[in-house]
Protein backbone atom coordinates (compact mmCIF):
# COMPACT_ATOMS: atom_id res chain seq x y z
CA UNK A 1 0.00 0.00 0.00
CA UNK A 2 2.63 2.51 1.02
CA UNK A 3 4.80 1.43 -1.89
CA UNK A 4 2.12 2.43 -4.36
CA UNK A 5 1.49 5.71 -2.56
CA UNK A 6 5.18 6.53 -2.81
CA UNK A 7 5.20 5.49 -6.45
CA UNK A 8 2.30 7.83 -7.18
CA UNK A 9 3.85 10.76 -5.36
CA UNK A 10 7.28 10.31 -6.91
CA UNK A 11 6.02 9.91 -10.42
CA UNK A 12 3.23 12.45 -10.42
CA UNK A 13 3.47 14.93 -13.30
CA UNK A 14 1.62 18.18 -13.81
CA UNK A 15 0.05 16.70 -16.92
CA UNK A 16 -1.68 14.10 -14.76
CA UNK A 17 -3.58 16.80 -12.92
CA UNK A 18 -4.56 18.35 -16.24
CA UNK A 19 -5.72 15.00 -17.62
CA UNK A 20 -7.71 14.27 -14.47
CA UNK A 21 -9.32 17.71 -14.60
CA UNK A 22 -10.25 17.28 -18.27
CA UNK A 23 -11.61 13.80 -17.58
CA UNK A 24 -13.68 15.19 -14.70
CA UNK A 25 -15.06 17.94 -16.95
CA UNK A 26 -15.89 15.36 -19.63
CA UNK A 27 -17.77 13.14 -17.20
CA UNK A 28 -19.58 16.07 -15.56
CA UNK A 29 -20.61 17.52 -18.91
CA UNK A 30 -21.85 14.13 -20.09
CA UNK A 31 -24.14 14.05 -17.06
CA UNK A 32 -25.26 17.63 -17.68
CA UNK A 33 -25.92 17.05 -21.39
CA UNK A 34 -27.61 13.68 -21.23
CA UNK A 35 -29.72 14.32 -18.16
CA UNK A 36 -30.71 17.83 -19.19
CA UNK A 37 -34.47 18.33 -19.33
CA UNK A 38 -35.92 18.05 -22.80
CA UNK A 39 -33.59 15.32 -23.84
CA UNK A 40 -36.38 12.80 -24.25
CA UNK A 41 -38.18 15.05 -26.71
CA UNK A 42 -35.19 14.87 -29.00
CA UNK A 43 -35.76 11.19 -29.48
CA UNK A 44 -33.39 10.15 -32.20
CA UNK A 45 -30.83 12.49 -33.70
CA UNK A 46 -31.52 11.60 -37.30
CA UNK A 47 -34.04 13.93 -38.94
CA UNK A 48 -37.13 12.16 -40.15
CA UNK A 49 -36.56 9.34 -37.70
CA UNK A 50 -39.62 10.22 -35.64
CA UNK A 51 -42.94 8.48 -35.97
CA UNK A 52 -45.25 9.38 -38.83
CA UNK A 53 -48.37 7.37 -38.04
CA UNK A 54 -50.38 6.13 -35.12
CA UNK A 55 -51.72 2.63 -35.58
CA UNK A 56 -54.91 2.02 -33.63
CA UNK A 57 -55.76 -1.63 -33.21
CA UNK A 58 -58.85 -2.84 -31.41
CA UNK A 59 -59.93 -6.39 -30.96
CA UNK A 60 -62.27 -7.46 -33.69
CA UNK A 61 -61.63 -4.47 -35.93
CA UNK A 62 -59.16 -3.67 -38.68
CA UNK A 63 -56.18 -1.46 -37.73
CA UNK A 64 -56.55 2.23 -38.38
CA UNK A 65 -53.62 4.42 -39.46
CA UNK A 66 -53.76 8.01 -38.29
CA UNK A 67 -51.09 10.40 -39.64
CA UNK A 68 -49.26 12.39 -36.95
CA UNK A 69 -49.39 15.70 -38.76
CA UNK A 70 -51.77 18.12 -37.06
CA UNK A 71 -52.88 18.40 -33.44
CA UNK A 72 -56.22 16.77 -32.84
CA UNK A 73 -58.08 14.51 -30.48
CA UNK A 74 -59.72 11.20 -31.22
CA UNK A 75 -62.18 9.14 -29.26
CA UNK A 76 -62.28 5.40 -29.56
CA UNK A 77 -65.11 3.57 -27.88
CA UNK A 78 -64.64 0.07 -26.66
CA UNK A 79 -66.28 -2.43 -24.37
CA UNK A 80 -65.20 -0.57 -21.20
CA UNK A 81 -65.84 2.98 -22.31
CA UNK A 82 -64.17 5.71 -24.31
CA UNK A 83 -60.45 6.09 -24.77
CA UNK A 84 -59.38 9.60 -25.68
CA UNK A 85 -56.25 9.96 -27.82
CA UNK A 86 -54.34 13.18 -28.21
CA UNK A 87 -52.34 13.65 -31.41
CA UNK A 88 -49.64 16.23 -32.00
CA UNK A 89 -47.19 16.54 -34.89
CA UNK A 90 -44.79 13.67 -34.48
CA UNK A 91 -46.31 12.17 -31.35
CA UNK A 92 -49.45 10.85 -29.75
CA UNK A 93 -50.63 9.78 -26.34
CA UNK A 94 -53.46 8.12 -24.54
CA UNK A 95 -55.14 11.01 -22.74
CA UNK A 96 -57.94 9.25 -20.92
CA UNK A 97 -58.93 5.66 -20.78
CA UNK A 98 -61.40 3.68 -18.68
CA UNK A 99 -58.71 1.43 -17.18
CA UNK A 100 -58.54 2.00 -13.39
CA UNK A 101 -54.77 1.60 -13.14
CA UNK A 102 -54.01 4.30 -15.70
CA UNK A 103 -51.63 2.04 -17.61
CA UNK A 104 -52.61 3.40 -21.00
CA UNK A 105 -52.15 7.01 -19.86
CA UNK A 106 -48.97 6.02 -18.01
CA UNK A 107 -47.24 5.13 -21.26
CA UNK A 108 -46.92 8.88 -21.80
CA UNK A 109 -46.16 10.44 -25.13
CA UNK A 110 -45.43 7.94 -27.86
CA UNK A 111 -42.71 9.73 -29.76
CA UNK A 112 -40.31 7.11 -31.04
CA UNK A 113 -41.28 4.60 -33.70
CA UNK A 114 -42.38 1.47 -31.91
CA UNK A 115 -43.60 3.20 -28.73
CA UNK A 116 -46.78 1.59 -27.57
CA UNK A 117 -49.70 2.23 -25.21
CA UNK A 118 -52.23 -0.42 -24.35
CA UNK A 119 -55.67 -0.30 -22.79
CA UNK A 120 -56.63 -3.83 -21.91
CA UNK A 121 -60.15 -2.98 -20.65
CA UNK A 122 -60.89 -1.45 -24.03
CA UNK A 123 -58.88 -4.12 -25.89
CA UNK A 124 -57.00 -1.30 -27.55
CA UNK A 125 -53.41 -1.04 -28.74
CA UNK A 126 -51.89 2.27 -29.79
CA UNK A 127 -48.52 2.16 -31.50
CA UNK A 128 -46.64 4.83 -33.41
CA UNK A 129 -44.80 3.90 -36.59
CA UNK A 130 -41.99 5.60 -38.44
CA UNK A 131 -40.86 5.46 -42.03
CA UNK A 132 -38.34 2.72 -41.27
CA UNK A 133 -38.95 -0.50 -39.40
CA UNK A 134 -37.25 -0.36 -36.03
CA UNK A 135 -35.92 -2.78 -33.51
CA UNK A 136 -35.10 -2.21 -29.87
CA UNK A 137 -32.06 -4.43 -29.55
CA UNK A 138 -30.40 -7.52 -30.88
CA UNK A 139 -29.85 -10.67 -28.88
CA UNK A 140 -27.73 -13.71 -29.49
Amino acid sequence: MTASAVAVLRRWRWGDALVLALAGVLVASSFALVYAPGWYRMGSFAPGAGPTHLVITQAGAASQMVPLTASRRLQVSGVAGITEIEIEPGRARCLRSPGRQGICEGAGWLERPGDIAVSLPNRLVLQVQGANPIFDSMHY
Binding site: S4, V8, R11, R13, L20, L26, F31, Y35, D136, M138
Partner: protein, 187 residues
Amino acid sequence: MTHETPDRMNRRIAALAALAMGLQIIETAIPSPMPGIKPGLANVITLIALLSLGWRAALAVTLLRVVGASLVLGTVLSPAFWLSLVGGLAALGILAPLVRLYPRHLSALGLAVPAALAHTLGQFLLAWTLIIPHPQLLLLLPPLLLAALITGVVTGILSLSVLADPRIQRHVRPIPPTSPGSPISPG
Protein backbone atom coordinates in the same frame (compact mmCIF):
# COMPACT_ATOMS: atom_id res chain seq x y z
CA MET B 1 14.67 -1.26 -24.65
CA THR B 2 14.76 -2.74 -28.08
CA HIS B 3 18.19 -4.14 -27.80
CA GLU B 4 15.96 -7.16 -27.66
CA THR B 5 16.17 -10.05 -30.02
CA PRO B 6 12.85 -10.76 -31.76
CA ASP B 7 12.68 -13.96 -29.77
CA ARG B 8 12.94 -12.32 -26.37
CA MET B 9 10.51 -9.64 -27.48
CA ASN B 10 7.98 -12.29 -28.52
CA ARG B 11 8.35 -14.05 -25.21
CA ARG B 12 7.73 -10.85 -23.31
CA ILE B 13 4.67 -10.11 -25.44
CA ALA B 14 3.36 -13.61 -24.84
CA ALA B 15 3.91 -13.32 -21.10
CA LEU B 16 2.13 -9.96 -20.89
CA ALA B 17 -0.70 -11.22 -23.10
CA ALA B 18 -1.12 -14.24 -20.83
CA LEU B 19 -1.28 -11.97 -17.78
CA ALA B 20 -3.82 -9.71 -19.47
CA MET B 21 -5.94 -12.67 -20.52
CA GLY B 22 -5.85 -14.06 -17.01
CA LEU B 23 -6.91 -10.74 -15.52
CA GLN B 24 -9.72 -10.30 -18.03
CA ILE B 25 -11.02 -13.82 -17.41
CA ILE B 26 -10.84 -13.48 -13.62
CA GLU B 27 -12.69 -10.18 -13.87
CA THR B 28 -15.73 -11.82 -15.37
CA ALA B 29 -16.23 -13.56 -12.02
CA ILE B 30 -16.50 -10.21 -10.21
CA PRO B 31 -20.12 -9.09 -9.85
CA SER B 32 -20.81 -5.84 -11.64
CA PRO B 33 -23.36 -3.25 -10.52
CA MET B 34 -24.28 -2.53 -14.12
CA PRO B 35 -23.48 -4.03 -17.53
CA GLY B 36 -20.36 -2.40 -18.89
CA ILE B 37 -18.75 -1.63 -15.54
CA LYS B 38 -15.73 -3.66 -14.57
CA PRO B 39 -12.30 -2.92 -13.11
CA GLY B 40 -10.45 -3.18 -16.41
CA LEU B 41 -7.28 -4.52 -14.83
CA ALA B 42 -5.96 -5.53 -18.25
CA ASN B 43 -5.46 -1.78 -18.74
CA VAL B 44 -2.44 -2.13 -16.42
CA ILE B 45 -0.87 -4.74 -18.69
CA THR B 46 -1.53 -2.70 -21.82
CA LEU B 47 0.23 0.27 -20.22
CA ILE B 48 3.16 -1.84 -19.12
CA ALA B 49 3.47 -3.33 -22.60
CA LEU B 50 3.28 0.14 -24.15
CA LEU B 51 5.80 1.73 -21.80
CA SER B 52 8.27 -1.14 -21.64
CA LEU B 53 8.05 -2.76 -25.06
CA GLY B 54 6.54 -0.12 -27.30
CA TRP B 55 3.56 0.55 -29.43
CA ARG B 56 3.53 -2.57 -31.59
CA ALA B 57 3.90 -4.80 -28.56
CA ALA B 58 0.96 -3.08 -26.86
CA LEU B 59 -1.17 -3.68 -29.95
CA ALA B 60 -0.09 -7.32 -30.07
CA VAL B 61 -0.83 -7.79 -26.37
CA THR B 62 -4.27 -6.22 -26.79
CA LEU B 63 -5.20 -8.36 -29.79
CA LEU B 64 -3.90 -11.54 -28.15
CA ARG B 65 -5.81 -10.71 -24.98
CA VAL B 66 -9.08 -10.05 -26.79
CA VAL B 67 -8.88 -13.20 -28.90
CA GLY B 68 -7.46 -15.41 -26.14
CA ALA B 69 -9.87 -14.32 -23.43
CA SER B 70 -12.87 -14.68 -25.73
CA LEU B 71 -11.72 -18.19 -26.70
CA VAL B 72 -11.70 -19.16 -23.03
CA LEU B 73 -14.98 -17.38 -22.26
CA GLY B 74 -16.68 -18.73 -25.36
CA THR B 75 -17.57 -15.35 -26.82
CA VAL B 76 -15.57 -15.40 -30.06
CA LEU B 77 -17.21 -13.15 -32.67
CA SER B 78 -20.16 -12.44 -30.34
CA PRO B 79 -21.08 -8.85 -29.39
CA ALA B 80 -18.93 -9.19 -26.27
CA PHE B 81 -15.93 -9.98 -28.46
CA TRP B 82 -16.45 -6.97 -30.72
CA LEU B 83 -17.04 -4.71 -27.73
CA SER B 84 -13.84 -5.95 -26.16
CA LEU B 85 -11.90 -5.50 -29.39
CA VAL B 86 -13.22 -2.01 -30.09
CA GLY B 87 -12.64 -0.94 -26.48
CA GLY B 88 -9.06 -2.16 -26.55
CA LEU B 89 -8.34 -0.50 -29.89
CA ALA B 90 -9.98 2.76 -28.79
CA ALA B 91 -7.80 2.81 -25.68
CA LEU B 92 -4.68 2.25 -27.80
CA GLY B 93 -5.89 4.93 -30.19
CA ILE B 94 -5.82 7.57 -27.48
CA LEU B 95 -2.61 6.22 -25.94
CA ALA B 96 -0.75 6.56 -29.25
CA PRO B 97 -0.61 10.37 -29.17
CA LEU B 98 -0.50 10.70 -25.37
CA VAL B 99 2.45 8.34 -24.89
CA ARG B 100 4.73 10.96 -26.45
CA LEU B 101 4.17 13.02 -23.30
CA TYR B 102 5.49 10.18 -21.14
CA PRO B 103 7.38 10.39 -18.87
CA ARG B 104 8.14 14.11 -18.96
CA HIS B 105 4.60 15.50 -18.72
CA LEU B 106 2.43 12.48 -17.92
CA SER B 107 2.84 9.51 -15.65
CA ALA B 108 1.11 6.17 -16.13
CA LEU B 109 -1.83 7.62 -14.21
CA GLY B 110 -2.29 10.33 -16.81
CA LEU B 111 -2.30 7.63 -19.48
CA ALA B 112 -4.57 5.16 -17.73
CA VAL B 113 -7.48 7.57 -17.26
CA PRO B 114 -7.84 8.59 -20.94
CA ALA B 115 -7.34 4.95 -21.93
CA ALA B 116 -10.19 3.83 -19.65
CA LEU B 117 -12.47 6.61 -20.89
CA ALA B 118 -11.66 5.84 -24.54
CA HIS B 119 -12.29 2.14 -23.90
CA THR B 120 -15.74 2.85 -22.49
CA LEU B 121 -16.58 5.45 -25.11
CA GLY B 122 -15.51 3.19 -27.99
CA GLN B 123 -17.55 0.32 -26.61
CA PHE B 124 -20.52 2.54 -26.04
CA LEU B 125 -20.47 3.93 -29.56
CA LEU B 126 -20.31 0.42 -31.02
CA ALA B 127 -23.13 -0.75 -28.77
CA TRP B 128 -25.23 2.29 -29.56
CA THR B 129 -24.75 2.30 -33.31
CA LEU B 130 -24.87 -1.43 -34.03
CA ILE B 131 -26.00 -3.60 -31.15
CA ILE B 132 -28.66 -1.59 -29.28
CA PRO B 133 -29.53 1.43 -31.44
CA HIS B 134 -31.96 2.92 -28.96
CA PRO B 135 -31.82 6.66 -28.28
CA GLN B 136 -32.27 6.27 -24.56
CA LEU B 137 -29.23 4.02 -24.29
CA LEU B 138 -27.44 7.35 -24.08
CA LEU B 139 -28.73 7.62 -20.51
CA LEU B 140 -26.24 4.90 -19.62
CA LEU B 141 -23.23 6.80 -20.93
CA PRO B 142 -22.60 9.25 -18.05
CA PRO B 143 -22.56 6.59 -15.31
CA LEU B 144 -20.35 4.41 -17.51
CA LEU B 145 -17.93 7.29 -18.05
CA LEU B 146 -17.90 8.03 -14.32
CA ALA B 147 -17.09 4.38 -13.64
CA ALA B 148 -14.35 4.52 -16.29
CA LEU B 149 -12.86 7.60 -14.61
CA ILE B 150 -12.75 5.81 -11.27
CA THR B 151 -11.39 2.52 -12.63
CA GLY B 152 -8.93 4.51 -14.75
CA VAL B 153 -7.55 6.18 -11.62
CA VAL B 154 -7.34 2.84 -9.82
CA THR B 155 -5.61 1.03 -12.70
CA GLY B 156 -3.37 4.08 -13.17
CA ILE B 157 -2.21 3.92 -9.56
CA LEU B 158 -1.69 0.17 -9.93
CA SER B 159 0.34 0.78 -13.09
CA LEU B 160 2.50 3.36 -11.32
CA SER B 161 3.16 0.95 -8.54
CA VAL B 162 3.99 -1.93 -10.91
CA LEU B 163 6.20 0.29 -13.05
CA ALA B 164 8.05 1.46 -9.94
CA ASP B 165 9.16 -2.11 -9.29
CA PRO B 166 12.90 -2.32 -10.00
CA ARG B 167 12.45 -5.56 -11.93
CA ILE B 168 10.20 -3.72 -14.38
CA GLN B 169 12.09 -0.43 -14.17
CA ARG B 170 15.04 -1.50 -16.26
CA HIS B 171 12.75 -2.23 -19.19
CA VAL B 172 10.82 1.02 -19.03
CA ARG B 173 11.66 4.02 -21.12
CA PRO B 174 14.24 6.14 -19.28
CA ILE B 175 13.25 9.53 -17.90
CA PRO B 176 15.15 11.70 -20.46
CA PRO B 177 12.96 12.72 -23.40
CA THR B 178 12.51 10.47 -26.37
CA SER B 179 15.32 10.25 -28.86
CA PRO B 180 14.48 10.47 -32.58
CA GLY B 181 15.01 6.74 -32.85
CA SER B 182 12.43 5.96 -30.21
CA PRO B 183 10.58 2.75 -30.97
CA ILE B 184 7.39 4.25 -29.56
CA SER B 185 6.10 6.10 -32.55
CA PRO B 186 2.74 5.61 -34.12
CA GLY B 187 3.12 3.79 -37.33
